[in-house]
Symmetry: C2
Subunit: 169 residues, 2 copies
Amino acid sequence: MKLKHLAILLSGAAAAALGQAGFADGQSAKSQASPIYGVTLPDGYRKWPLIAPAQEAAPLNELRAVLGNEQAIKAYEKNTLPFPDGTVLVKLAWKHVQSPEFEPASIPGAATTVQVMVKDAKKYASTGGWGFGRFINGQPADEAQHKTCFACHQALVRDHDFVFTRFAP
Amino acid sequence: MKLKHLAILLSGAAAAALGQAGFADGQSAKSQASPIYGVTLPDGYRKWPLIAPAQEAAPLNELRAVLGNEQAIKAYEKNTLPFPDGTVLVKLAWKHVQSPEFEPASIPGAATTVQVMVKDAKKYASTGGWGFGRFINGQPADEAQHKTCFACHQALVRDHDFVFTRFAP
């Protein structure tokens, strides 16, 4: 095993340990900014209100939940489209595992990615007004991954201001 | 079709219409209290922080999310067991439906039930310190349904203060 791989493994284990502690500081510690967009993990996002959960089928096999800041929640309340500048959406994702305690239920396992969308119509004019950040263990994924964000949102949810998630009543 | 059944259908349709409006007043309007326990839907719960999402397999076929009040979140942060008096957990459930926009994703459909657990060690001494409320369209389910709550929690999660849900990191 190369040293680089060991370092990645250890970094993953440390993040998992932090995750197990619950609302660990590691979750809201200042992350590096995402490539292309310069988006960081927002402070305190883990306690933001829920917009909706979702499930992602194999191969990702994840449970997910999208949370929103105050501007996001207000926009959903009033069905405001496009979302106003300052809107931030955060999608948390976990491996989707069987509940050890209740046979019909499946629940979040290890955290996988945290994905952020920030609305700034001027700054991100070329990508529908949205900046994107995809974080793994609190650090941004590479530039190649960030190049894929907007194309998919643009192709599939242009009519909902490039946002997939609807508010779950 | 009997008049009673029509009334139930209309009531469901009205609730669905309210649900579509987003954070509708109907969700936090004062509900009747649950049988046995006298638990009501807490004010403003829809904006409480997320503890974890979950999926429930067929026949219910639901996506779910458990939210918690401030006491609940503090207890999860500090791994406090048993949960302190005043803890309130609210589980929202929706039918689990295919996303019309993204093939690998499935998302919340119509809201089904909202289930509440309230901790009061003295008041609910005979049921592990928990009072239960199960609400459909904002109104409590019948006494027979409420008789089933504690037996299942007692049988399966006695060691976690009768609470299934763990915090999703």
